[in-house]
Symmetry: C2
Subunit: 423 residues, 2 copies
Amino acid sequence: MTVVEVIETNSDRTDSLGCGPLRPPGAANFLPLRQQIFEYVRAAGLIARVAVAKDLAISPGSVTALTAELIDEGYIHESAAPRRDADSGRGRPPVALGVNPTAGYVAGIKLSDQAHAAVILDFAGNRIAEAVIPRKVFHQSFSQTVDASEEVLRVALAQTQLKLTDLNCVGLGLPGVIDNETGVVPWSPLVSERDFPMRAALRERIGRPVEIDNDANLVTLAEMWFGAARSLSDFVVVTIEHGVGMGLVLNHRLYRGAQGLGTEIGHTKVQLDGALCRCGQRGCLEAYVADYALVREASTALNWDRQRATEPHIMLESLYDHAKAGNAGAQAIFHRAGRYLALGLANVVNLFDPSLILLSGERMRYDYLYAEEVLSEMANLTLLSGHTPPKVEIHAWGDLLWAQGAAALALESATHTAISGSA
Amino acid sequence: MTVVEVIETNSDRTDSLGCGPLRPPGAANFLPLRQQIFEYVRAAGLIARVAVAKDLAISPGSVTALTAELIDEGYIHESAAPRRDADSGRGRPPVALGVNPTAGYVAGIKLSDQAHAAVILDFAGNRIAEAVIPRKVFHQSFSQTVDASEEVLRVALAQTQLKLTDLNCVGLGLPGVIDNETGVVPWSPLVSERDFPMRAALRERIGRPVEIDNDANLVTLAEMWFGAARSLSDFVVVTIEHGVGMGLVLNHRLYRGAQGLGTEIGHTKVQLDGALCRCGQRGCLEAYVADYALVREASTALNWDRQRATEPHIMLESLYDHAKAGNAGAQAIFHRAGRYLALGLANVVNLFDPSLILLSGERMRYDYLYAEEVLSEMANLTLLSGHTPPKVEIHAWGDLLWAQGAAALALESATHTAISGSA
């Protein structure tokens, strides 16, 4: 592995190139060395300088100089202590580096159709508090959404010694289409308004920097930072719950698309003029696979009176029980949803050729979604089924994983501001 | 813009990370400085050292040292000459750097259903020869494919003073699923065998290094190196001709997927249990949009006798003429193909959120494919049609563009070997 000098680029740079007959050299965004070292120390827990230099292929002199800066500024500290895991107390180098957990704090908030959740992390990534509150209003207004965000955050904070002003950054996740760059929410199924400036409103309310993103991207960040995918460079996360979402990681980075609206697999069309979707269009994958798609056929399958107005998640539970008990109509609903899910996953494989697909969501306990026959149909719908299809893993998760992803978003932003902003 | 030190990574590196609780710093592949400078000089045509240093944010000392090496090795030379374009003869610095065109040569070969083509480029990217020969056999065997590749290459070479041994690398493109990494072709509509080692066979036949890739990727490389997209970092190319292909450029690089089989939009499923595709599966986009899909309905629309065994491209021409003359059946065929094309493009937008889609192919002259109504239906099938849909540009092209892409592939490989291989 050679050490070379490379230029830090920014997005403006592209525009100034392209004047010649041939392609300009590829430009990539990468992290300043200070931040690389800081994040590597955080990932390692405790690590000797010499190991940082070796693993990152940076000269020992640069590591010494940059870690001295980071120690002076209070972001990392020297420690003689063994690793926190009980199994590795001895044989460590006498002086190791670790992130100073009290160098900063962040929060992550998840808003969803059932409940709202929040977690507080220290700068080393340790979770120091968590809270879940039930959702009060079904069709929330924009201002009620800001209220709910603040409320669950304060409940989590109350379990700590921290005040709002101690938080370097707050990450907020909600379902729907979220513009991560502008902080505007064009559409969320939780909120009655459209195109509302969620990030600006929450920032004003709590007086702290805020980052926002959609549920699928945050689940993906959580898998990258804390989950099974943390050593993979390229993978896809598909989330199935109230809707169908997707997160795409290419070369260790979340891919967001040109307008920050990328990877909306739930709204790819799987049938021309097909079933009606919540987004107002027809034939979206979501309209065959998501909860509401199943629930709206349930009254036909089970001869229910539509006027009973049962809660959707109760209807879904009941439909599932009937399918397991042998009701042919209920089984037909799950069977078709499973086949369309297989089709959607096969399309992801045909388009991205990922090494791993993580199916992630609270509804993952419904067998039909990960039944052997669905995965085998996915393989059959993949071009060249003779090739090894990508691994598919199922991760059922609760409210906190997504909130943890929102906290990871905040930690990334806070780290960047703290470690690189002043460099 | 700051200059920072960054590590060159390789793909093995990922596997050695991921031991800690948090995501390791993002790792990207980037070019060594020597190659960056070389490619930047090639892109510029002629450029002063000071401009290289400024544009790439590299210290003038490093530029002087590295360009001295490249001059010693014969890859670039100093020149007092004006730029080749007539409009900028004066005001240039007295000494500029340019790529030495005779430092090396590459060839690009395109195999397709109608004709085979080849181009020869010098190391500066200038095309110095080209050749097109008609395809002789419809269902070619693997060894006939190797014969045809060698034949068209020799016809192009015969127009120059060069011998086979003067070529640093040969790029070969053919339709189908091509494994760029192993050089094996799992399936091509041109060839009767499957899983044949095309790269190894051609390399053995001509005794030169060979790179192979599929048609859509090569058209995309040509657009990146020579075409309208050369200043864009992220875009999608969709090719429509005998099949439907796609190339995806993310951050100035062609995305190939985990197994090198990525971005097969033609085989994404747009209808469960739908129309039969050449790949043997049902409901692929290609089975509604590609030539053969239209041709197989033509005999119904036009009351043709199937036994007449007309050439497919003649049937397609005739179908098109009938549609323009008002034949309802022929119009219905093009109308549906156009709607499915809109659906396929909308799926690309929903999944990638690209800034530009280039529709590229020899059949782009059929209006139905780029009719206003198709593009407007695409926008309607895109989530949040209120947002600006990405720009769609139509590029009709001939045999040579794709061959030029194959040559770009060869030039990239030859440059890397020559400039970085020994560094």
